[in-house]
Symmetry: D2
Subunit: 363 residues, 4 copies
């Protein structure tokens, strides 16, 4: 259980880091949406290891194949199965961790839950699992683009460790994000971030940071009171991404130090539409989108895998020590940007279909 | 849609602030759990308006009735329906807001979504909706207590506006929390918080803050990779509570400024069990509980309803102004403490049953 | 678990035959549908005991109350809670069955499953549970009427024991059904059915029969391959009704003795639409409605409760005997007609919303 | 939507008859269950076309591959993905049906629902879709065998057209079923069935029949009142199989002509357990298993694809005619036997896990 996301645009991912392959089945995708393997591959390439000097140098080609649900370039309304073969497996790299629980990894908890685990790598807890999410997100974006003319999602690295970028949330575009390998649209700060990541990697350590994301062009009305509020589903989506520790929407934790008179977003008429003057709400009020930009932030911890030696215990309950070998990311944020985008696309697409179900118009 | 929470311990709430009543149906509760109306009422009384000088002085008795699913003091395994009548309705209080969208409330978005709303109060977006959650949470706590001998949940106010309390997360008990009306177990700080809330109320304004919560005694193994990670479901649960803007588990946003070597929780043998030396993970690794305390924080914004005059627009799209009349909370946190507890109980109970389903032991 | 029906038009029933009350919560009902307590009550009155000399003479008023989700006569899009108080409880009638398992009742299996049961009557297995279904069905019919101009459901008694009525499935109307107390639109046969039921009752025995149902005016396109085929969901809906033993759609079991060349429904152009010449398919092909009448039959067994003495065992595993006392239906079919209608309405309404979700038009 | 079956043992199938491949993802399978590709393949081979002279002679190897969820021969508790490549595609065979709706096929309804269809064969409505069900059923059987020592499922052909076999439902074994190619354990009758099928095939026509199924060794307590009654989920499972028209459990439609005094199953003590003397209930009472054999029947219509010429219309709404070319089954029942077994295994496995979830023992 727990491998399906969404109520109507239902995404089920499968696959361990080692074994036959990784993939996703999308059930509930509307028919007649244009989609190609190339479009999906483009998103996967943004998530792929080895894409820059900042990421692990593992060679994972991550070549995506559409197994079903698409005919002559269009979705059929039937399940879309997408699969990527596992290739670059080197099980010998993992011999040590077969018997030792890596600190702050999922080795111990998988063992505690299931009494068994695939110790050849991260198994199901591997970041490789997110391939299925990114592939499904590519489809969700296509669906959303057919529903909302001005729809776009822009996610970017806003903070690496203590380096915070200056970014105009209202105007930033994806092409700005893709200009550098750290995916921070503030060029000067990006350079400092890159230097820091390289330094930390050379020290055998790792660092975290914050990704910010904006979704534009979504009509008012998405989100289902009371448990499936839009921000609740976004929070779940984000906290389901490996290495995340926090989520805040709009004003977020800063709201805790504001007064109602400062925080409230007054309504006004603008462009003949009902708009809010400010957007502390983050585009969502009472769990439902209000037509303003939806924006939020996600906290990522430093990756657990580090080259420095750490204390741990073995599966036979002996105290021991461990230092990671092999090829690992010192900082997951650059590669996590397309994952955040994919998850927000899944949430919005699901809620768009839910709104259509009760006869609500998309726009 | 969206009014059901949980996969196996399934909770469906219903009811607007005005109308016949408010309540909840719990489906999937195990049989033969002892439960009484009095136990549920005790939790509801902690959530009730008018319980102290800090909260709205509306008289809502919130008397809970068990309609089904309990026989001779024990659950039957069948749906437990709990209902509370609406009583203290004063529709005349709401005549103005029938035609004006209150800033940062859900009036506009409900109208946008449904094309209709019950303008006699907050409707479904009213905090009154949480009655059903707290009632269901009381049942969930009973189930969890039968599964985990040392189980307890302690939630408390950690911050009001810029006043931050000092609390030992490892030792704080619910009786410490209940010692004062602001539900902050740091007595000296609690006094300052109370003064500030009263001052802000007298100014016609409102303030927010942070609630922290610890769940103790949960066995390793709860949480379902990959989308229904324990932290993902906790994040969703918390962001589904009215007025919340953020969630962080364990180290949370602070993790973004730590290095892996600082942040990782080394494993050690303690009390003959595998334990972690530190608990930056917040009791969850790879989405699964590791047997340590589960702890997290929730950000609450200042309530949207304030006596100060604000700009807004009418439902006929004219610009206008509005000042709240009537009886409202200047700060929701004291009453939100039992709601946070209830939601974490729902998440843990659901995951405990999910773990049982695959043959996992509770402890 | 198991008390919720539907994916988008989600109906959760609650309540035992004895205890506070019985009811239903509908989540996912579209907004702005006209509905009143009177309309729901009208359907409940068709299901009510004591409505004719053929049914149990228990006085159950079954007065329905709308607790939420409706405002000024229109649905809000929020959960609609409907409740009926339990009143005519006579626990003394049930003292004997507290310790003896009634043959072909659910006493033993509830005990086996839950280790506890409400022995004051049928508990959750009581036919009283269907009150919630009929109430929800009344709402579903209203939704369907707004979607399909010519929509109607007609269910009727086609067979009682070995008496089979002659009914023109294509033209029969609900007013024909309601003309007599056995709800069989073939007047002459209805008389014989009534006589037989009375005779069987006087002998302390019970009998079963077949209900046939036609749904007209449904557009092509409802039904979700592959597991949620329209006939699959109809079959589940019907077999979830107490006392049912079989379901067949269109040609049904008779199809097993036909050849493909006889059974296939040729397509033709009629009224400028694509129609089938015959309708062995029962209005569904490949799990999806084809625009023809949807028709099916449901087999009901003779009620388990009879005045004749029967062998059984006690809960302490002693062999014993039992004869029902009190007031019981010798034949459930007349009262089951509105229940069948309600369940088909729930299935069709759910599938109509599912079709809308992917952008499909209703008609 | 609609491609997932089960609440806890969740099976999602994907794939069209033509395109990359066909498969299934199983989420919720308990960990540490022994399973191999060979065991799954054995079941698939029973479903495979070309296995005997009675079935279509298409060469479909249907070679199954485990992509994930199994490690060193044991399930991991993570999603099990199983895929079969599509190979023997001959799109030229299908050129005619691209523009004509085959009578009693799903061509027209898919077009009506989705506005698009893969006309290269049956698309998603192809019997090939059941590969995923059979593969998942093989895993479900393994899980059930670990829970119930005496568990077995035996399905067999009971009737072909008007030829009805004599079979002792209480003692028949799978090896008896597999003794002949029509899968009818009554050898003499099987011969007559085979002759009739060959004759009908030679005439370019098709025939249907009835499959009966018995599940033994299931403990009392499986099944969830009130909508997810065991018979309701079985009915849905069976009616989701292509070409089915009816379902009856235990006494079924024959119950409609019995009296309560004949139909009721008296309880007695046997082998120190509470048993029923007869089993008209079909092993289920009040929706919950009572420990007796669960038995039911499924009606299959004659396949829609026949070589005889039939009337139809084109997608441009012209009246036309059509005669099937290519390789088709004159009778689906022999190959449907393993599909029925698979679906009942999915239902029982799901309900076994649901029962475990509330703390119920398996036996």
């Amino acid at each position: 259980m727990g491998n399906t996301f969404g109520q109507l645009f239902r995404v089920t991912t499968f696959g361990e880091s080692h074994g036959g392959g990784i993939g996703v089945v999308i059930d509930g995708c509307p028919p007649k949406i244009d989609i190609s393997e190339a479009e999906i591959q483009r998103e996967l390439d943004r998530r792929r290891p080895g894409q820059s000097k900042l990421t692990t140098q593992r060679k994972e080609e991550d070549r995506c194949e559409i197994l079903s649900g698409v005919f002559e370039g269009k979705t059929l309304g039937t399940p879309i199965a997408l699969a990527v073969r596992n290739k670059d497996a080197r099980p010998e790299d993992y011999s040590e961790i077969a018997g030792k629980f890596r600190p702050s990894h999922a080795d111990y908890t998988y063992e505690a839950k299931y009494g068994i685990r695939n110790w050849q790598g991260g198994g199901r807890a591997s970041a490789r699992e997110t391939i299925g999410r990114v592939a499904a997100g590519a489809v969700a974006k296509k669906v959303l683009s057919t529903l909302y003319a001005d729809f776009e999602i822009v996610a970017y690295v806003r903070q690496i460790h203590d380096i915070v970028a200056k970014i105009d949330r209202s105007t930033v575009k994806m092409k700005d994000v893709e200009k550098n390998i750290v995916r921070c649209p503030d060029a000067a700060t990006a350079k400092r971030m890159i230097s820091l990541i390289e330094q930390v990697r050379d020290e055998g350590d790792s660092i975290g940071g914050v990704i910010e994301c904006v979704a534009r062009g979504i009509a008012p009305g998405l989100g289902e009171p009371v448990f499936d509020k839009l921000e609740a589903d976004l929070a779940k989506a984000m906290l389901s991404i490996p290495a995340t520790k926090g989520f805040e929407i709009g004003s977020g934790f800063a709201a805790t130090r504001m007064r109602g008179s400062q925080h409230n977003d007054p309504f006004e008429m603008r462009d003949k539409r009902i708009r809010t003057t400010t957007n502390n709400s983050g585009g969502v009020q009472g769990g439902i989108s209000n037509g303003e930009d939806i924006w939020f932030r996600v906290a990522f911890k430093p990756p657990a895998t580090i080259a420095l030696q750490q204390k741990t215990v073995t599966s036979s309950k002996k105290e021991s020590a461990l230092a990671a070998r092999g090829r690992h990311d010192p900082c997951v944020l650059p590669r996590a940007v397309p994952i955040v985008e994919a998850m927000v696309a899944l949430v919005l697409c699901d809620h768009a279909l839910r709104q259509q179900a009760i006869g609500g118009r998309s726009q």
